[in-house]
């Protein structure tokens, strides 16, 4: 769907490149997570891919054609949801969506989406009266109203309560099941882990890692099993390698001891983020 080769970009007023020659591909029907600390080049890369920034070096292809060869009709194909709430505050939710619908050739019926995302009853309320979470949900519906082939989502679940975050994640997964492709940035690593088929980590304008969350967890994790059990009133921890768990000693421990917890040594995406980027996540 998207092919990026030796992509470099420098802002006119900067001496250094913000994006320093990155390569990656996003397959059709894939959810691709693009992660990195603030200022690493994440947003710049996204702006390059959605043609808001133009004078880049290297190659970017969308559906087999150079991105530069597309005119504004490119936007008939994609949906973009920004992190910040974007809506005309004195227009109702429905008026906002109606305005944007008129700009597309094949708009969808927004009623089912608004109902699903819990905004149907508030459709005639002014967007300025919405809570942050409601505005984010409205952003998401706005990104979907042209029935896009590809979605660019910036922190889509940030500021949402768990129920609405769940609904939105389900909708993103359904979008993929229907053949849609997603470019997603987020600092909520549990969401990235759950949604993304592959993730890329960008640090200081360069890609440090690209792989599936599972492979990264194996790569950065320890291939061990940690067991916690009680013995003579004391909590004892023991760690077994993957080879050791095949031995009788491990089975004896499971059979004879009062086991409290049993964990594999795979790491979390959050720990991988910290290791790869050297930056701790906020919150």
């Amino acid at each position: 769907m998207i092919k990026v080769k030796s992509l470099k970009f420098r802002y006119p007023k900067n001496e250094d490149y913000t994006v320093k020659g990155i390569d990656f591909e996003i397959a059709k029907g894939e959810i691709f997570g693009f992660l990195g600390p603030s200022g690493a080049g994440k947003s710049t890369t996204q702006r390059l891919l959605i043609k808001l920034l133009r004078d880049f070096e290297g190659e970017v292809e969308y559906c087999g054609r150079p991105l530069k060869s597309y005119n504004d009709e490119f936007y008939q194909d994609i949906g973009v949801s920004f992190e910040m709430p974007i809506s005309f505050s004195k227009l109702t939710a429905m008026e906002n969506l109606d305005f944007f619908k008129q700009l597309y050739r094949h708009p969808v019926d927004v009623e089912p989406m608004l109902k699903r995302i819990g905004l149907w009853d508030d459709r005639d309320k002014k967007a300025g009266e919405f809570s942050k979470g409601m505005k984010i949900r409205l952003n998401f519906v706005r990104a979907l109203l042209n029935n896009p082939k590809m979605l660019f989502l910036d922190e889509p679940t940030n500021g949402l309560d768990p129920v609405n975050a769940r609904i939105m994640k389900d909708m993103i997964l359904e979008f993929r099941e229907q053949g849609g492709t997603v470019f997603l940035t987020s600092h909520i690593m549990s969401d990235v882990d759950e949604l993304c088929d592959r993730v890329a980590f960008i640090v200081d304008g360069k890609l440090q890692e690209i792989d599936s969350p599972r492979n990264l967890k194996i790569k950065y994790g320890k291939r061990t099993v940690k067991v916690e059990y009680k013995e003579e009133g004391q909590l004892i921890q023991r760690e077994f390698t993957m080879d050791e768990i095949k031995t009788p000693a491990f089975f004896e421990l499971l059979q004879n001891k009062d086991i409290e917890t049993l964990h594999s040594g795979e790491t979390t995406l959050e720990e991988i983020f910290i290791k790869v980027t050297g930056v701790h996540l906020r919150g």
Binding site: R47, L52, L53, E73, Q76, F88, L91, L103, Y104
Partner: protein, 241 residues
Amino acid sequence: MDRLIPLIRGDFSRLNKYNLFAANFVVMLVWATLVWFIDAGQLKQFVPVVFVTDSTMMTILLVGATLFYEKQEHTVNSVMVSPVTEDEYLMAKIIVSVLNSLITVVIISGILYFVKDVSYNYLLIALAAVIVTTVHTLIGIFLSYHAKNFTAVLINLMVYSFVCLFPTLFASFGLINAKVAKYLIVLPPEAANILFGAGIKETELWKLVFGFVYLIALAFVLYRFIVKPKFNDYVMREMGV
């Protein structure tokens, strides 16, 4: 240009919802009231001032306010990731401003015709409104590019008034030497004054031709070399780049 009509409809709808139409209407009422009370003989001096002020200052103010709201609510970003082109976006702003000015022209002219029995060359006045408003919409957009907030828009407008509008007014009151005053035609409000004046009173032909050609050329230069090329930078700045 498929999206031009929805953009124009959207801009009109927002002018209404954000009460900018109401503000414009109040100003128009003030003009209408003044026109009502001024003697028919003096009206031909006064009416060009009404049209010049509406097509220049009110236009800049309305465009500045519109762009300020779009900037404050980041909606321009959302529009620019839709199929709307820069040309469509800018043209919509120009057309909406021109229609606003023409509405003022129609209402004021209607009052003058039916109440004061004053008529003039409506075609020339309408043409003047179109070109003067186009130039000043572009000036308004340009001033908004260089304003961080609405206060800055107002300051920019005041500077523009001080540099370009006040000399025109001083000249019309005879406060500027006639030899110097004839060069003021290069100021857009003075050129506007000549164009509107030509529809109402006798004007030297060269001034009329120069005024039209000059403002059309100015609109082209502003659009082609300043407003459009800087538009993408403006959108990027709004995104925090």
